[in-house]
Symmetry: C2
Subunit: 331 residues, 2 copies
């Protein structure tokens, strides 16, 4: 194990940084980076991950954490229907941190940036007593207009882009296991992946915005009970979810047996699935499904917007208020 | 003393955030913020400050630290000749931190943003074991083109926008005093201010870029010996500084007597003055001085660009290589 060198780190980041590429006037190595963009609406978001708060190094391999640190930011751009363009990294790292850990983190971060045609254009590296990773992303808004949380109307249908509760169950499996298992059961592995290596739904978000049929959208970071409550609050409405319609991976039931937990709890209240949660214009569901089929996107209709306030779950027991039962929302 | 509440913090930040103002399509409260800008070159920079590494709470009042956290980022925009437009905050704060400290930090940050017509448009708040503050700034490049580090040519004159070594001496006075003095001697106070509350030279940078007479620029964050070495390296040249021309506040000599230190050392090797360091086209000095006089800007000619490599100091003892003798450079 070798402690990291700031000089080496900057060299590695600089060499992987965008320079003289499309839109980049000045890359890393000056007081600012400079980008030339045609007249456009731009999207900006920043997310910070702290060691032992947002990730656990006992079971989160640095390569996958590098991917996830970028992914959660790309997901914010996806949730507006935009296209990510550039990122900046701010890395606060303890002096004794292993250089190899940082190298693998960078490998993962650069890999996902490459996959999503997104360029690193600058950043900062500092020393601190714990790992604090801040990624800032700049994207271009959808040409047809961004999809906000505030646009839902009464009678709009509520949808998600993928299965719920996977990342939450994956995290609890990892925590219970304390990083001992290296090869997970085939059915459980997708839950583990959902936590360690979430895939931002960038292309899906772009297609959804371009369909012209969406009224509101956000990504699922705090659990659908909380995230849908944000859409309800921003749109001045209530929502009803149909319990039987909530999509889950087949492994979720197995994980719940192992953990002695309730699947509904994971699906509604656990965060970090990074799927897209959105509403489709009233009466346009069939048209929307035809577009999704053509684009080969799997989406799930899970509820409906109503007058009132709050998020309700409809089960065979009746209707229950589940508003804001996910994680506390941050900025 | 009351520990801070995330809900209160977000509420305070949100209420101070730009929304529906010029250029802001969507402020805080969605997955991203959205800004509409006409076709332009944009500048981006991010800087991170860590408790006990970049500041000391024993003597740095939170209000002034809030100002400084923003100022160091505005200074990066100034160093390109640009105009700051928007910032994002990422605040990593320990759970036990006093709410009052955060309130005063925010007061300072919002005050300087207001003074420089710059808007907060988003951010993130997280909990960690120490204070880590990341500010990201977005600015518009000078219409006439940004001033990079790489444009200096042989025979260009070297200038600074203000006195050198003030912040470094101020920091050492504070460190020696351990925050006991509340009222500093009139001559020393400007040194203290230079460390605690640096003023980013935004208007100066804009005027310098618009003069059409500059060839290279950066801000003095790591000491002129290191910062001028960056201009030399980027431009493929050497520079000679004339010791007798280096400008200093009158209090620097007094501080050096108190601290038993050498003024030259502070002027060349101490960082954080956040003055602008720049080069002016060969033979155009008089014309440049006339422009500065008209704009009421005080600037100081301190040296010249030469062929070769490295930064040299010319004194009555001869010529000495001082390249990179300031702080280690970060990204």
């Amino acid at each position: 194990m070798a402690a990291w060198s700031e000089r080496e780190l900057i060299k590695r980041i600089s060499s992987a940084c965008a320079s003289a590429q499309a839109g980049v006037v000045k890359g890393i190595g000056d007081d600012c980076c400079e980008i030339a963009l045609p007249s456009a609406s731009l999207l900006l978001s920043t997310d910070t991950l702290v060691d032992d708060v947002h990730f656990n190094r006992d079971w989160h391999p640095p390569y996958l954490l590098g991917r996830k640190s970028v992914a959660v930011n790309l997901s914010d751009i996806a949730a507006m229907g935009g296209r990510p363009l550039f990122v900046l990294f701010s890395l606060c790292l303890p002096p004794e941190l292993d250089q190899l850990w940082i190298d693998r983190w960078l490998d993962g971060a650069f890999a996902i940036l490459h996959e999503f045609n997104t360029e690193l254009i600058g950043g900062d590296t500092v020393r601190g007593s714990e790992i604090v990773i801040t990624v800032t992303v700049l994207g271009r808004a959808s040409p047809g207009g961004s999809i906000y949380r505030s646009g839902a109307e009464v009678g709009d249908s509520v949808w998600v882009s993928g299965c719920l509760g996977s990342a939450g169950a994956g995290l609890e499996l990892l925590a219970a296991d304390k990083g001992e298992t290296t090869q997970w059961d085939q059915e459980l592995q997708p839950l583990i992946d959902a936590h360690l290596n979430p895939v931002p739904r960038v292309q899906c978000g772009i297609e959804l915005a371009q369909s012209g049929l969406l009224t509101a959208m956000q990504d699922i970071s705090d659990g659908v009970a909380t995230d849908l409550a944000h859409i309800c609050q921003a749109s001045g409405l209530a929502a009803v979810l149909i319990k039987d319609r909530l999509p889950a991976l087949s492994g979720l039931a197995s994980a719940c047996r192992i953990l002695d937990r309730d699947a509904e709890d994971f699906m509604l209240r656990s965060g970090e699935d990074y799927e897209l949660l959105f509403t489709v214009k009233r009466g346009r569901e069939k048209e929307f499904m035809a577009v999704m089929k053509e684009k080969k996107l799997h989406v799930y209709q899970i509820g409906e917007m109503r007058t009132g306030a709050g998020v309700f779950l409809e089960t065979d027991r009746g209707r229950e208020d589940i508003s804001y039962q996910g994680y506390e929302h941050s900025l």
